[in-house]
Amino acid sequence: MNMTVNSLPFLVFFTLTAVIYYLFPRLQWVVLLLASLVFYSLAGARTFLWLILTILTTYGAVRWMETMDDQLKKRQAGELKEASHEIKKAEKARTKKKKRHVAALFIIVNIGILALLKYGNFLIDNANYVLGLFGISPVNRLGLAAPLGISYYTLQSIGYVLDVYKGKCKPEHNILKTALFVCFFPQMTQGPIGRFPDLAPQLFAVHKFSYENLSFGLQRVLWGFFKKCVIADRMKPSVDAIFRSADCSGMTLFLGCVYMAIQIYADFSGYMDIVAGFSEVLGIHLMENFKRPFLSRSLGEYWRRWHLSLSFWFRDYLFYPLSISKPAVRFGKWGKKCFGIRIGKIFPAMFALFIVWFSTGLWHDSSWKYILWGVANGVILMSSLFLEPYFQKWKAFFHIHEESGAWRFFCLLRTFFLVAALKVFPGSPTTQGVFDTVRRIFTDFRPSLAFEAWFPKLVPQDLIFLAIGLTAMLAVDLVQEKQPVRALIARQNTALRWLLYLGALAGILIMGTFSISMTGGFAYAQF
């Protein structure tokens, strides 16, 4: 049984956990660990061993690195005390190198597990396709199931090990506490991908029950449910119908991309609000994963506001190391020689960007359509990096004032439609379907005013509910951009606050779609 965070069993499970958590304050982290293990084992006991393996290797790697540091310190205080600066430096470098090998081994093992479980069949399918071209009989697919949230907990564990390697945090000595950090249940299925220095102290601390945490947490849960039930789940049937239909017009397909952009935002950010709210009830503040992405003025800015924990993970642990790596530096030197200093300078970043976006696509799903989606994002970002000086000249020539309202609004719309257009990749049912969808948008647009062409699978009542829901979501995002909405609500008098809460609750009950939300999952859980 997979308990989605918006299901009734989860609400009961969470309430019980929270009650026990506050009844036994000294055992809070143990309660969280037990709850996480129960949550995880309910999702599939067969895959539980893979999680255990990641916990053990994480614990082993950080303790091993700590032992190396301790040995160096001992030697520095003893036999190396009188040694020359060069010898001390060489010893330090040797320890660093050994620690790097441990971190590399840990990464290879855990990325190996991820690759085997998530991408094994994808590789076999591709290999079989090539073998088929030469008339060679296909290789059997693997019968291995990937554990719940493997893409999230693997990256979180790698981040922790690399933070210990860099000396950003001390390794945890208690293996059970390490286990809790890896599998804290609210963030298990869809993140956010936590950082040890921020998350671990909160998980292991004793939290007193606080009315503010309860009130703020439940407000956030309520808002998450609103986005999920009123917007995401109401739009989902229409989006699914559009991309599954073989005969809908190019116009409807284009609208499907736009709807999907909104639906996924409401779904994923709604999930984040729900898990952040539940965690807040427990006194734990998770990393914010969204910062109003649809108020971005460029695709680069959008990715600094969308799924932050993943973007920052890729930036810190992949983009930076890659862009200063020897191949990237060599690529930059070659670029400077061939294309001049200005262009050559951006080559290392472009090299890293391509690999990061290829990996981001692959991380989302083991399919070519997601890899293409990632590469398309990367190519656009690389192009904007490359063309930036020309854009500046162009804007100066046309006297465009970048801070003017009209230009900012144009940039917002441009970014939104660009993000929506890229939904053609995840929206289309197959990789071949992506090309078919694009072809139909451009060659079979068939503009129409018919209701069914604009809003398949929806009825006028859905539009009213969606209009209310989307207006509320946009209003909250606009206010939040200026000041925290919850602090603003907290400043209102009790009657108005309760009116808002009851209004949101009534909104969910009246306008929400429960047939999907209470039994089905969230879009990002599949990753």
């Binding site: 950003k168 930076y320 862009s323 200063i324 300078k345 951006i346 970043a349 890293a352």
Partner: protein
Amino acid sequence: MKEKVMEILKELRPDVDFESSQTLIDDGILDSFDLVSLIGELTDAFGVDISFDDIEPENFNSADQIAALVKRLEDED
């Protein structure tokens, strides 16, 4: 050294007041592309080897911190 660092920073982002800013990374004033370009420029200008271990906000949040990082790496060499 500080002057040379300032020169590199001003060339990289003429729109930023590097004299007073103490939160170049924390407030996103320098983005990841700026940081990578900056590392390339510092490497070329001072001949230091800035590694993955050194890419931390506390090394790049201000011109002083950047100069201190370069000095530390020069001393280590």
